[in-house]
Each structure stands twice: as structure tokens, then as C-alpha cells.
Symmetry: C2
Subunit: 153 residues, 2 copies
DNA sequence: GGTGAAATCCTTCCCTT
DNA sequence: AAGGGAAGGATTTCACC
């Protein structure tokens, strides 16, 4: 789907605050709210907008620790290994990557004990992996929701 | 702030779809929409809900490549190094981590040429870093927005 | 936590350019 | 093909119980 500057302006607003009323979006981009509604519908249908999510403070719901985990997968075990990984509680992202690790995942745990149980109790015992490294996130210096949206193409 | 089961139910719904009308949230948790509104306001003010964001397909806005980048920071240069990093276009997350890398960041780029320019043109030339590794994301096997929200505590 | 009412917003249809 | 006006029905919001 081809996007124009108006579409990108809408995306920028909704990525920043997904609950902005269409009437206000309309005001800001100087169009009617019917048009905004129309464009948003098209963007949703085309898969440009995948969904709308509340961003929740992990600490408030009991997650005190997050980590990035690198994994080496044994040849031929890729599919089953990934299928089992996504069942592990706390795993929120699983990426296939180049470099030292075949898989990089992002996990959340209540505390370090929980994280240890997750890594040594669950993942270390799985077939299909032969090495891992846990990079505990000590702090986040910067985190912006979503992707940068260029003002034109 | 102390959360109860009702709060967590609301959070789960809004994390999944931030534009769910409060009237429907109310229906699902069997309360009035005024109460939902009241609770959501308190969750926002307490910082439990940090915001609402549209999830946008990176490919649709021109980002064909994403990567995780590990960096080693020279002692004593931490603050300035991080300050400069967050100015780099395409950088969306910067985490301080234990393990082989001091900093792990997530970047988006148009294509591999763009990513190379970002890494070799911009970051490699900066003071304060002495080693890096770029883990290009070849694919994402699983990605769930936000954090798991337990049904009780 | 709920009710009720006013203000606002969403949505659709239809008309215009 | 794209945008705007208008109108209904739904939703948000706020004062008060």
C-alpha cells in the first residue's frame, strides 16, 4: 500500500497516542473526521496499523527483571525449539538473528530467582539448544514506542 | 499502587486493544463504564498505564531491516556515549546490560546499506565505544505487545 | 461503586469536487 | 478517487448518590 504524507501524519499521531479522538486528529491535519476515519480504516485493513496497545509499566504488574537472552539452536531442531520457547511464561519476543546467537529473545520475570528458574529450570533443560547467554537489563536509557515515521518519502 | 483483579483485567484488555470502548470493557468485567473510566484514570495517574500506542508495520513505513546491536562502552564515557546514541536516527531502544555487552540497542533502518551507514558511518566513529556487534534480525518468530499480566497476585 | 445526563465522538450515507 | 456535511446512535465524562 502506498502511503502519502497525510497517512504518515495520522500514523505519527496514533503511534504517539492511540486514543486521540479522530476529531482531534482531523483538526491537527486539517481534514474532516470522516476522512480520518476512512483513512484509518484503510490503514488497518492494509495491515499498516496492526493494533492498538496500552503501554503498561512492567514493575507495576510484578515484573522486576527483564533480560535479553541469546541462544544457539542445534541444526535441524529449529522449528520444535522455537515452538517450545514461545510457550515459556515470560517470553515476549523471539527473533532469529545473525551473529553469535541464532535466537535472541526478550523475557520478563518477577525477580532474579524467577529469571534463574526460567533459564535453568525451563530453557536449559530443553532439547535443541546447546548454549545460551543471559543479558540482564540493568536499566533502559531510552525507549520509544514503535518506529520512526519519516515525514515524506 | 496496589492493583486488584479488576485492575489487572482492565489492563489486559487495554494492552490487547487500547481502543476498546470503556462500555465494552465494562460489559466484560461486569461493571459500569463510569467505574471503568474511574479506574483507568487512576491507573494512568499512578503511571501503571504509560500511554496508548498504535502498532505500525515497520515495512509499510519504509523500514526493511531491524537489528540488535551490542556495544562496549569505555570507562568514564558512559553518560556522553548514551546521550549521543539516542540522537542517532533509527535507534529506538537503549538498554544497559550485564554480560558481554554494556549496551544493547534496537535499531531500524531502510535497508542493509542504511544499516551499514548507521553502524560504520555514525556509531563506529563516535568516541566512547570500542567494540560492537550487529545482530541483524532475519525474522521474528514471536512478538507479543507488552508484558504478561498475571490473573492474581 | 453506581446513576443519570450533557457533551463529545464515532460511524455511515450521500453529496460534491 | 477522495474529501466533506450531516445525523443517528454510542461513548465519554462529570456531578452527585
Amino acid at each position: 500500500m502506498e502511503l502519502d504524507d497525510t497517512d504518515r501524519a495520522i500514523l505519527r499521531i496514533l503511534q504517539e497516542d492511540a486514543r486521540t479522538p479522530f476529531s482531534e486528529v482531523a483538526r491537527r491535519i486539517d481534514m474532516s473526521s470522516a476522512t480520518v476515519h476512512d483513512r484509518v480504516s484503510r490503514l488497518e485493513e492494509a495491515g499498516v496499523i496492526r493494533g492498538y496497545h496500552a503501554e503498561i509499566d512492567p514493575g507495576s504488574v510484578g515484573y522486576g527483571v527483564s533480560a535479553l537472552v541469546g541462544l544457539r539452536v542445534q541444526q535441524g531442531h529449529e522449528d520444535e525449539a522455537l515452538a517450545r520457547l514461545r510457550e515459556v511464561d515470560g517470553v515476549r519476543e523471539i527473533h532469529l538473528t545473525t551473529g553469535e546467537w541464532d535466537v535472541m529473545m526478550r523475557v520478563y520475570a518477577e525477580n532474579t530467582d524467577d529469571l534463574r528458574e526460567l533459564m535453568f529450570g525451563q530453557i536449559a533443560g530443553m532439547d535443541g539448544f546447546d548454549r545460551s547467554q543471559t543479558m540482564v537489563i540493568l536499566g533502559t536509557a531510552y525507549e520509544e514506542a514503535g518506529v520512526p515515521i519519516p515525514s515524506h518519502r
